[in-house]
């Protein structure tokens, strides 16, 4: 007797599914519970199992074809010579088609390929069929080129739409950047945080004298602190690196990231090749890029490529903030100065894979000392 195996419904909204894998060919004997196919909608991939021990008599669809929910996906039978009464074109009966079936990626590999928008032809296959292991090996190798390639890999997506009513909204470029930063910080860095209180008076006096001497409108204290960080990184290159595939990646330029809150947008502005600037040049460069950020006129290269970073939330009167590390950086200094407390705080988020707590304490101690 011949038994129909029907195309399953994956979700209530889709009356058709795409056949993304046929794991068997006509003439095969399958066991109950054995996966015989995989089907997909926009929301999910579902494996189709045989509901009995039986021979595959006739396959009624093909890979990449759209199949109506409830239609016969394949006919199964107690013996190989059972008659199938339905006469529908059979797409995969000859030997060439069967070989082509074997060369199809597995369902999970196909999902991974789709997630990362990869070209199947460029992925080496270790066995008869392209598997998840092949795709993961390919991704790992692709990621070893430069850290930036890894940073631009899409953040993990949430596949399940919440049950509460709502709608999906596109993120702004800055929003996407924040997702990438948070995901890298969560998935890659071994996050540590240290902070140190200090007496801000010597630094304040130094900055006021510097501003007066140079007739500056803006206090140079934070720029000078950030510049001090650049000098420290020049002396200790480990501050200016990251970990890529188990190896330390040493940056050549010191690209200092400096956060700027402009209206509702948080920018990480970047002063490139900061190690080549004098203090005054650095202050001017930072002032210029801050103005561009405030006017929302930054160019892409002015908000990408930071190799270490500095942030202050003193203006918001917070007592502590623990910043997230921007992708592929090992340290971010956080400054806070609660009003009326006669104290200031320098903290540091750091990647413990590269820096120890002692390393970071030394950085903080050197920063709180005002320049001679």
């Amino acid at each position: 007797m011949a038994y129909p195996l029907h195309t399953p419904r994956v979700n209530n909204n889709d009356d058709h599914v795409q056949i993304i894998e046929l794991s068997v060919k006509e003439g095969d004997f399958v066991k109950q519970g054995q996966v015989v196919a995989a089907v997909e909608t926009d929301k999910a991939i579902v494996e189709v199992e045989s509901d009995r021990d039986a021979y595959v008599l006739k396959i009624m669809s093909a890979v990449d074809a759209q199949a109506a929910v409830g239609s016969v996906l394949m006919w199964l039978g107690d013996s190989q010579d059972e008659k199938v009464t339905e006469t529908v074109a059979t797409p995969a009966t000859d030997k060439a088609a069967s070989n082509a079936l074997l060369q199809q990626p597995t369902a999970k590999a196909r999902a991974l390929i789709k997630k990362h928008n990869l070209d199947i032809a460029s992925i080496p296959c270790a066995g008869e069929r392209l598997g998840v292991g092949d795709v993961e090996a390919y991704l790992l190798k692709a990621g070893s080129g430069t850290p930036r390639q890894m940073a631009t890999m899409p953040a993990e997506t949430i596949d399940k739409i919440p049950e509460v009513a709502g709608s999906l909204q596109n993120l702004s470029p800055e929003g996407r950047g924040m997702v990438a930063t948070v995901s890298w910080h969560r998935d890659q860095a071994a996050h540590g945080y240290l902070e140190m209180e200090y007496d801000p008076e010597p630094w304040d006096s130094y900055a006021k004298a510097y501003a007066s001497e140079n007739k500056l409108m803006l206090s140079p204290m934070l720029p000078l602190l950030a510049y001090q960080l650049v000098r420290l990184a020049a002396e200790n290159p480990r501050l200016n690196g990251t970990i890529v595939n188990g190896q330390r990646y040493q940056y050549e330029p010191i690209n200092l990231g400096f956060t700027v809150q402009a209206d509702q947008t948080l920018y990480l502005t970047v002063i490139r090749e900061a190690q080549n600037l004098s203090p005054q040049e650095f202050i001017e460069a930072l002032g210029g890029i801050q103005r561009l950020a405030m006017a929302h006129k930054l160019k892409p290269e002015q908000m990408t490529g930071a190799t270490l970073s500095f942030s202050s939330m003193a203006r918001w009167n917070v007592s502590r903030h623990i910043p997230l590390l921007p992708p592929h950086t090992s340290i971010m200094i956080a400054h806070a100065a609660p009003r009326g407390s006669n104290r200031a705080v320098l903290g540091a988020s750091y990647d413990h894979r590269l820096l120890t707590g002692f390393d970071v304490v030394q950085v903080l101690q050197a920063l709180v000392k005002k320049p001679a």
């Binding site: 501003a211 007739k215 409108m217 700027v260 809150q261 002032g287 210029g288 006017a295």
Partner: protein, 89 residues
């Protein structure tokens, strides 16, 4: 091109008060001669916000060197600087 000096000073003061207010400070008593950074009513980011607003409102493009106490240090200085820039345009 001429500008209304009193209107400019009034607009600058209004913006300065708004920025200070966002920082929980009251700048309503600031005089035209007060050196803005020295008042402590607004921080560096606030001054930067004032400068960016000044450029945008009066269609100016300032070089980094022009952003100094002499040119922009007080409400009077800002208004005078604007008049000079517009007369040269």
């Amino acid at each position: 091109m001429s500008v209304d000096n009193n209107a400019v000073k009034s607009a600058i003061r209004e913006k300065l008060i708004a920025i200070a207010s966002s920082l929980d400070a009251d700048a309503s008593g600031i005089s035209d001669e007060d050196i803005i950074p020295a008042t402590g009513l607004v921080d560096s980011a606030g001054i930067l916000e004032l400068v960016v607003w000044f450029e945008k409102t009066y269609e100016l493009t300032l070089s980094q060197e022009e952003i100094n106490i002499d040119n922009l240090g007080s409400i009077n200085a800002m208004a005078a600087f604007l008049a000079t820039k517009k007369s040269a345009a």
